[in-house]
Symmetry: C2
Subunit: 377 residues, 2 copies
Amino acid sequence: MSTEAAKLVSPHGGELIDRTGSRPDGVESLEAVILSSRELSDLEMIANGALSPLRGFLGREEYESVLESMHLASGLPWSLPVCLAVDEAPKGDRVALAGEDGRLYGVLDVSEVFDYDKKREAELCFRTTDTAHPGVARLFDQKSRYLAGEVTVFERQTPEFPELALDPVDTRAVFAERGWHRVVGFQTRNPIHRAHEYLTKVALETVDGLLIHPLVGDTKAGDISVQVRVECYRTLIECYYPADRVLVAAFPAAMRYAGPREAIWHAICRKNYGCSHFIVGRDHAGVGSYYGTYDAQMIFDEFEPHELDVEPMMFEHSFWCRRCGSMASTKTCPHGPEDRTMLSGTKVREMLAAGKVPPIEFTRPEVAEVLIKASHR
Amino acid sequence: MSTEAAKLVSPHGGELIDRTGSRPDGVESLEAVILSSRELSDLEMIANGALSPLRGFLGREEYESVLESMHLASGLPWSLPVCLAVDEAPKGDRVALAGEDGRLYGVLDVSEVFDYDKKREAELCFRTTDTAHPGVARLFDQKSRYLAGEVTVFERQTPEFPELALDPVDTRAVFAERGWHRVVGFQTRNPIHRAHEYLTKVALETVDGLLIHPLVGDTKAGDISVQVRVECYRTLIECYYPADRVLVAAFPAAMRYAGPREAIWHAICRKNYGCSHFIVGRDHAGVGSYYGTYDAQMIFDEFEPHELDVEPMMFEHSFWCRRCGSMASTKTCPHGPEDRTMLSGTKVREMLAAGKVPPIEFTRPEVAEVLIKASHR
């Protein structure tokens, strides 16, 4: 490891896990377990070290520890179960891992199979058992037992945007090459309007570099397509960010919509990608009104200082203030609503659908153009 | 300590030192040591805990350790000597501490008197022995031995701005009362123009509160008077900051102009005042061209992560960019000099002296007005 790389934040648990490997002989004759798209996304992230220190799907002891205390049995913080649901225990001690299309991705060496309580998992992870919550709905639809064990992945998933498909080892290499030590990660599943541009730039001002890390795994219906979002990111960065201070890469996780616990999990994953800092806005990873506005920020206080070893950067909603003559939030602007340009997401979607460019204080015109074109495709 | 207060960053070394006490009998008959204004300022800060864990002026072992390794003998980081210069050893084991006007402030229980090498101290602390450097000049003018020992202060100095005279225990109480946990400290010895307003607001966006902590101790000739600066701070905050997110208090330190080492020292002092974060701009605490632009930022890397336990927030120079339509720095703006409003300090002083209001992108008009009035008094 070079001196530069040594100055990046260490992976969670100290070591970047690599669970990729060569295709074992006879894998076709193994019993195959079919993974859901969420499980496949987890598998990919175990393989490339994004979920370090995990080497496979959680066993019962780890699962219980994560649910009850947000820590692995080793004492390392970990906020969400990463489990593989099956109907029944496989017969052999090794199984093949397949996608829903039957394609084989890896093998799992079975350590145990255990029953779990969906309602309890929902309450502890999602703070609700309401099946209108997409994460709860998916959990309740799952098979009823968990299959645990280390995995080896011999077939990587085909990325939709190959040039954005950077594993933690790749983003770390870019950061090291650019001489960045302190890097802030930004999670998003939306186009970046002025408000989020402001957050990322505020964060960037105090560190060396910015990783714009859009989620490209499963999101919910109604979210803007990943293709359009990626075009928006490219346009915005080309026009308004210094190329040598920002990197865009795809975050292959599937949304769980677990709000606070997912914010912690997102921060830990980004540490594995080499981020020392992570942006946590209001309602991070939330859905509906299941979480309080600040829950995903406050949960960081449940950990000891430096225990996570990734610095959360908490933000308020931001807006353009005419009297300040700048973007601001209620934390930095003393003026009233009459001085502020604030638009609801619904209003902006309506404007874009009608081919209208939102005010420049809300959306950069170049980004509005991409969105308007997309809404008329 | 309340739960709220317990969530503030701990003082340096864990305990807020209080070296105030009642006036001992017979203090008038003790041999008196006359303190320079810099030493008197240090005394005040030992008394009120701003220099925690120091309980007095440094002995030889501590002095050597600070000079050589930027740590106290206990292993705690400490970057600048805090010493009391005398011509010769006092006769008794207790001396009275007096100002240049003869007023008595405290007593010192003598632990030792030792010789020191001014040239070596200058090289290690100031990185130069050039007497054109104001810190070096003062050091070379000092008496030739150091008197060490714990102090007890029975007479506090009369503050110029009583309502700004907040000890660490006071700022901590304000932070706790307001429910702030993460507080960023901003050191300044100039009026705040848009560039520094931007830094403080960028910093404030990710924490709970901002302590604007202007230095009111000795500064060098040519700096704008503290009265005018305080009026500028008040005006700016009234017009452009939310009152519940900012506190202005006086930092009673004397400038040493030791650049990098002083940046560390400033950060540690602010931790004692309750700041978890501290803004470090370019050329912090520098003078002339004795230090590289980024030296005061890079020195933070010489400490282990979390060793200082106060997070530096490093900033670049900032400016207004017409194409961004916002304040920015080279880290966040990709555009060229032709799009940016940049004025030299000299140019701005000339404009103000001529009664001209600088561009709104450079100085808020309300602040310009204070400065123009002051320059015509």
